[in-house]
Symmetry: C2
Subunit: 145 residues, 2 copies
């Protein structure tokens, strides 16, 4: 059950890395993040770029440059990040992929699916980066030492 694309997962991991790293508002280079989390540098750059364009990150070029959270971790909700990276219709899609499915013309799975989707959505909306910040982060944001 893959509900996030690689890009979204990478983006979330990078944000959690930043959130956990510290309250020091210093820029962290994408090189460091990609190395620590073992994510392709160029691909991660692209993902983080789209977060920089949307008030999730701020970026700065040159030596000692990098990216930093644009706002306090308490105010960055998972839902916001996912909608940016996966598209605004992320929570709208029919389980069976039927474009016309909805309350008017529900597919056989519609109401059940609607229910699960809503519960995941509300979790994503009520969970912020701060809620997931943890001390042992590095150990848990990559798959090997």
């Amino acid at each position: 059950m893959k509900i996030l694309s690689n890009g979204s997962a990478y983006g979330l991991r990078a944000l959690l890395y930043l959130a956990a790293k510290g309250d020091t508002r210093e820029f962290v280079s994408i090189g460091e993040i990609s190395e620590q989390l073992d994510i392709s540098f160029h691909f991660l750059t692209k993902v983080l770029q789209s977060l920089s364009q949307k008030d999730i990150l701020v970026s700065y070029r040159g030596p000692n440059g990098g990216v930093a959270l644009a706002r306090a971790p308490e105010t960055i909700r998972l839902s916001e990040v996912v909608l940016i990276l996966e598209g605004e219709d992320y929570f709208e899609k029919c389980l069976l992929g039927l474009p016309g499915c909805g309350d008017q013309a529900p597919c056989p799975m519609h109401y059940r699916w609607k229910h699960w989707k809503a519960s995941i959505r509300s979790e994503f909306e009520s969970t912020t980066l701060a809620d997931l910040k943890e001390p042992e982060l590095l150990k848990h944001l990559r798959w090997a030492t």
Copy 2:
């Protein structure tokens, strides 16, 4: 939020079509299903073949041949179908895509995700084709008339 591949969605729709079509144990041609549900014939053939190899469908060649449910709709659970079409590890994957994530080395989302996954899984396990059988099926298994 696309949690099923196109192939799985097509397979489920075809099964629901068969289930709703009738308790008459007649073979229904894949041509009819693909036409009624507006799914590529050849692609659907491939999907249904893998269900025929796994005791979900039985198939028969020649005139008046086709496919039919191998068992009563009450006994065919969504989870079974999805595991066949998406792979046995469908309910095992980490939200952030980390291969080593688990109770021993949980990623920041692990326990939340584990919880949601379990609830969807149990719904898939307790829902059978019979539960989803509905009279107005055709209207709701395709997106246009």
